[in-house]
Symmetry: C2
Subunit: 193 residues, 2 copies
Amino acid sequence: MAERKRRLVANELTEAALQLLALKGFDAVTIDEIATTAGVSKRTFFRYFASKEDVVVQFLADMGADMRAELAARPAGERPAEALRHAVAVPIATCADHSDRALRVVQLILRTPALHARFLERQAQWRDDLAAELAHRLGLDPDSGLYPRLAAGMALNAFDAVLDRWSGSDGGEDPNELIEHAFAVIAPALDTA
Amino acid sequence: MAERKRRLVANELTEAALQLLALKGFDAVTIDEIATTAGVSKRTFFRYFASKEDVVVQFLADMGADMRAELAARPAGERPAEALRHAVAVPIATCADHSDRALRVVQLILRTPALHARFLERQAQWRDDLAAELAHRLGLDPDSGLYPRLAAGMALNAFDAVLDRWSGSDGGEDPNELIEHAFAVIAPALDTA
DNA sequence: CCCTTCATGTCACTCGGTGACATCTTGACA
DNA sequence: TGTCAAGATGTCACCGAGTGACATGAAGGG
C-alpha cells in the first residue's frame, strides 16, 4: 500500500507534466513548476523520473514490452511480415484508443527535439528486443546475420512513419490503413529470408 | 581570413573535445575543461557549438549532405536499392578511411546515451532529406505515399546496423561486405515500387 | 510504546547553457 | 599615421537541470 501511494504520486506528476508541457511547450516549463503543481518538491520529482524528458517518454514506455510480447505470442509458422505487423499494431491501437491524450503526447514528442531524441533512443532498445525475439522465433543466431536487426528496424521504421503521419494529420488519417500501407512496402524484404 | 581563424579555433575545440571525451568518458569531462584545453573560455565554446553533444555529432554532420549529394548524382535509371547503397557507402567509406579516429568517435557516440540520442535525431533529418531526394528522383509526391520515407529509413537503418557491427568489432569486420549484406536484405522492398 | 523503514523536504552544490557588457583585435579608410 | 567600425573574445551574473547529504515525519511491526 506504500506501493499504491507511489503509483499515485507518479500519476499526479505525469498528469501535471503532460498538462503543462502540452500547454506551454517543453522549454517554457520548469521542473519546479511541474512538481509544485503535483504537490511535491523538485527533489521528489527526480525520485520518480530520471529527467525532464523521462516523464513524457516513460508515458510510452510499455509499448516496447507490449510489442515484444505480441511478437512472442504470434503463431510460430506465421511469416515475419505478418507477425511484426501485428506486433507494431498493438501500440498503434493503444494510441488510437486514447486518441485525445495520445495524440497530444505524440505531437509534443515529435515536435520537441529533446524529446524526439530520447524517444528514438528508447526505440533503439525496442529494436534490439524485437530483433532478439525475432531471431529466437526463426532459430537464427542473433549475432551472425543482419536480418533480425534489419527486420526489427524496418518494422519500427514503419511504426515511426505511421506515427508521424497520424500526428501530422491531427489524427485524421486511419492508423490501421497506414500500417497496412507501410507493411505492404517493407514486406518483400521481411519475407524473403 | 577571419573565417580561417574561426575554423582554426573550431578545430582546436573539436580536437580537445574528442581527445578528452574518448579518454575520460562523456560525463566526466566539463566544458570548462575542453575550452581551457583549447585555450579559450567556456563562453567561446558555446559560440562555436550549441551543446556538449554537438561538438561530437557535428564531427559527423557532413555525412547527411554527402549522402544526399551522392544520391542526387546517381544515374536516373538506377534502381533505388543500388542508388541508396552507393549513397550510404559514401560516409562509410569516409569512416573506413580515417578508421583510427572515426572508430573512436563512433564508439563514443554509440556507447553514450546522450550522444546516441542526438545522433539519431540528426539521422531523422538525413532521412527526410533522402526521402525528398528519392521522391524527386522517382517523380513521386513525397506527401502521398509512404515509400520514399520508408525507403530512406531502411537505408539509414542499414547504415546504423553496419556502423554498429563495425564499431562493435573494433573495426575488424569489413564495412563494404556489411553494406552489401545489409542491402541484400532490404533490396527486395526497395526495388518493388 | 519504541523502533525501524521509507518517502519526503530542505539545502547546498556542480554543471550545462544564455544574455549583457566591456575589451581587444583587425582591417578599412581618410 | 590616426581613427573608426565590426567582429571575436573574456568576464560576470544568472537560470534551470540534476545530485548528494541530512533531517524530519509518518506508517507499520515488535
